[in-house]
Symmetry: D2
């Protein structure tokens, strides 16, 4: 396969992120087909045309179904608001396309189940945009866990915090509307859950407490409207590997900008990571002279593939967009039938089930199996 | 009052810590009575004599009741194993002494209740050894919270981790025996609970998951014995001020040596602290130009009383023992009838109740009011 | 201008870095011409062809003069070993091309002077690859200095450390050969000097001490060869703005991977930065309540342009390659006659002069004006 | 020797620090004589009496010669302003007392030489107050260097920064008066020089640049007065062990409160330390799998003697005053004729010579042998 035809639906935050990945994946990795950027959809025709010119797409449309119907498109990037994922993914799969869909999968569990079933039936690659798992350091941490470097894992802590909902006087937005989902559990929780999925095989059961830091928010036209979503969540977990732990989420965490952090405790050591410093992780192993033991700050380098595809010198730093580019490369591996590190719709459904179990455990104030 | 007669029961870890405080409190603070180190008890007579010579006590005994009975002793430091606290504190109070008792208060809730009742009845000062609350930075954080510097607190996270139980092949010790208590909840949990008590007025309800990272441990004579205590604990909390949060405890956390850490999220900012770097805290306030906002690392200095009693220059660093010395000074304030920052037996009973609620919530797998 | 024809000479570390920038600059920034990747040169014809396929270039050659002579090439990226820069840049300028040449400019001061003269005469854009100055945080720090946020700067410290020369038993390589230049002063020193140039207008005089941590290195065929270059350097500086300071360089600094760090002290505050954590900087201002003063860790975000062209959410992190992409965009600004943040050959000559002054001050053991 | 008679001259910053050490040394270490606090001098008789009551001294005087003449005083702590050290130390030695004198030794080199000669002639212990060398971690770093853990040291960097002279509008004080000495070189430089002395055997030659960040300062009564001392200094160094390096000092470093920091680069690793986080150091060794190499943060613990004399649990933290207490214990070791880690007047003279060489190298703009 010399090239692969690409369609893109949505050109906002994640849409641009996909576009950058499609432009850069061949120059960075050298292998695989050259993406041919065929067709792009954006809700406004003018904007669609402008974005196509910027991103290097051949055709633009205001109707996303044109992209799905385009015979030259072989894979479709879906980067629209969450509520639209299901319809678009189902249509793309039905049209025989591979699908690269942003997370979370869907707003309802029923939709997610339909998507997983459709992907299975279609026999196409259907991958979700869980790019944090693509950090070379996360891969390496997975390898360390598999190798038993910190022994048997018995306790974990995951945190995810940003502050875009922290201002109590920020106007009511769709993020506070029930139609957007639950709030922190799906908007945020899916990220740590994706890491738990690849590092530990997923969550077995949960017990959660969801909260609304602010009961209502001002409306643009005056007055206030009750907030319907949960901006913070605290979760007790039992992982599939038997370890216990906590997950804490907060979209109203002043000062945190992209803090997806975790601590993993094992019988022989500890690993810690914080996405805000995504080019380093902390490793403690109970070995050597106690007088020189300590947490090591390991900087990413060419010894942590595929960092070396980006930069031959260590410690120079990857960025957030580079993770999406690695994800794109993994998607292409999957399309080519090679082993690939992706969270497909089947695995993604497991994450959605965990999200919904979290919400039910809160409502029923009791543990809930995933 | 020119001087105050001091008795000390126990000369181990905390016993020495009390002795250092009694020696240093007058030179550091300058005010209050000069402690007269009268009588010291240690289980072995020779050791008692040696410690008395080292610590500067006039008399030594192998019978702790001698200390309690000594008419020249006005205040008794109780630093023996937890199971002995109740009997000794009750005896000291009955003898009309002030009591400075190490944490946790007692192994059973019934004992703790008896101690609180006795203290109330005796009308003497009965203080517990929660020295982390004495850090000038913790005081300052309390002042910041009271002043609304980070707005209304809505979410908190507390962690307490050390690694003295982390080695799975360390021999079975009394720390794994049911007689020692529950494990992490009382051995560790009381520390974050003491901070929550002074910063937020305590915990309203809890839901916990306790765990045993290692099912059994080797016996010195061969074979293995089942571990009866919980080395780790995960707790969902609702505080008295309405904030939600988590508390995670782990005595088997490789690499952590004294990590009593917390994050406090409010409507206007965030505060973070880690006892392993006890001379600094992190403060984020949502103010000023967003392009220069960030977490500030504030170093302790003379502007954070009573640091200035120790060192006139900022950033030079207090140590763990200095916190106990401040606690000693607060105890003397209480004895003198002045306002004092102590956790007395009444407040300590609240902490014990929280510990027992944590254990019951785990056993019954449901939320439990404190 | 709808498009611009690009030639690339060299496809190694920096060659790929340029290629990635040329592929991504239009999708990221949206404005300016679309780069048309015309012609690529690599020393081996097969490798050249392979790289052209990977990077998306239309034509490949083993003769770099083909690129310079190609009428469809309008701008030439020069990313070959330092000793070749002068000849290639002079040829490209003579052919009427714009030039984007990697740092350092040249091995000899005479060559650098010829290059600067040629650029001036040609009236084309001639920019050097000093990408660290393109970090949005470095731009912001420049703005803070200009605004007087930390008052009048009086003292600075710059450090640059990596460890690729740290192993004393690593075989003798061209980096230890005199033909490669001086070692740390030019290989490393130019980076802090580029920051000093944009932040402070350059260095006025220097006094240096160069050193060879290892006198000789093993040869592949046995025996050892004397090291001719200086792997570390210590420099006293006086900046053009009157501030004093030090610069310390070490290519044999075990554990440092890309530590380009500085501290800037002013009459009203302090700024600190470390490239190994390139998405944050430290700011202290002597303002507000002393009890809450501290160094703030500011994370890059959309408020620090042009971060927002990459990611709309703060704290998600740019990478090293993103800096080169910003540099590419600035080059295109310059080509279009717009204000541009580049170090052109004239400014680059100032950096080279500082390097040579450093070496002379070492040889003569006395201060030397730049 | 059951006890030792102590005299104290000066009760300010360092005077209190000595008093705390004298009170605590026996309880902490258990061994050695019990200090008997005999006689204290302070310039004002009332204050002297008050301090004696606070610190536990038997007698107080406003005439320091009373302390020196007191037959019950065996060792004299001298903690007065620097200009008084020489006269007092000479008198105390002449009276046959051991001397514990705060740093720096004296304002003039001639005085320092007289003090060293007098100490040699008297055959008494004459120790200087270089307490930073007493940090258990500094001892451990010394042991690591001696063991070759980071190979052969070839490059070092020392920094010492505080901000008590940072405010340009703070009134002119004695610190800016020439009578107080040179400024940063002696006031600050002696601290890193003391570390260099114990870790590397001292400095061989220096080349410095001293600076006055602020030319003048306001006078209390109006007008301004020219600053005579140097608040910052940059120094090139060659150590006695052949390593090169820099030392940077700044008393006007906004935000730094007690930053005595260093980096030591060797052929096999790197060590870094910062006094503001005095309970940890950083260690990188070029060993093990490169994918897990990194700087280790080692927390002080009982494995780093004499930490275990203070606290049996690791990571709980010593404070600044504890270092002085260790120094006191070393002084007592020396008095008892045991091996002791002190900087005596002979070694201190070496430090003074380095200070004066720094100043001369600045004045003559050339390298100067120590």
């Amino acid at each position: 396969m010399q090239s692969i035809g690409v369609g893109l639906i949505g050109t906002g935050y994640m849409g641009k992120c996909h576009a950058l990945a499609w432009n850069g994946v061949k120059p960075v990795f050298g292998d695989g087909p050259r993406p041919r950027l065929v067709h792009l959809a954006e809700i406004d025709a003018d904007l669609a045309a402008r974005r196509a010119a910027e991103f290097g797409f051949e055709r633009a449309t205001a109707n996303w179904r044109d992209v799905v119907a385009d015979p030259e498109v072989e894979v479709v990037s879906i980067t629209t608001p969450n509520a639209l994922h299901a319809e678009m993914a189902l249509a793309a799969l039905a049209a025989g396309k591979h699908v690269w869909c942003e997370k979370p999968m869907a707003v309802t569990l029923a939709d997610a189940e339909r998507m997983a079933a459709a992907a299975r039936a279609a026999g196409r690659v259907a991958a979700l945009g869980y790019n944090y798992i693509q950090n070379p350091l996360i891969r390496h941490i997975g390898a360390l866990l598999a190798a038993g470097t910190i022994g048997v894992v018995n306790h974990v802590r995951f945190e995810m915090d940003e502050d875009f909902m922290a201002d109590p006087e920020a106007p009511f937005s769709w993020k506070s509307d029930a139609a957007s989902g639950y709030g922190a559990p799906d908007d945020f929780g899916v990220h740590p859950l994706s890491l738990i999925a690849v590092l530990f095989g997923g969550v077995a059961r949960v017990m959660a407490q969801l909260a609304k830091p602010y009961a209502d928010r001002p409306l643009a036209g005056g007055g206030r409207r009750a907030v319907a979503t949960f901006d913070s969540a605290c979760v007790l977990m039992e992982l599939r590997n038997g370890a216990t732990g906590i997950m804490a989420l907060n979209r109203a965490a002043w000062g945190r900008k992209g803090r997806l952090a975790f601590q993993i405790f094992g019988s022989g050591g500890t690993i810690a990571y914080d996405q805000e410093r995504m080019n380093e992780f902390q490793l403690f192993t109970a070995s050597g002279d106690p007088a020189e033991q300590g947490f090591r700050t390991v900087l990413t380098g060419p010894v942590h593939p595929p960092y070396e595809r980006f930069i031959p010198a260590p410690g120079h730093g990857l960025g957030f967009n580079d993770l999406k580019l690695i994800e794109c490369h993994e998607l292409l591996n999957a399309v080519a039938g090679r082993p690939a590190r992706i969270i497909d719709f089947a695995a993604g459904l497991g994450i959605e089930r965990a999200v919904h179990a979290i919400v039910r455990s809160h409502r029923e104030a009791s543990w809930f199996d995933v």
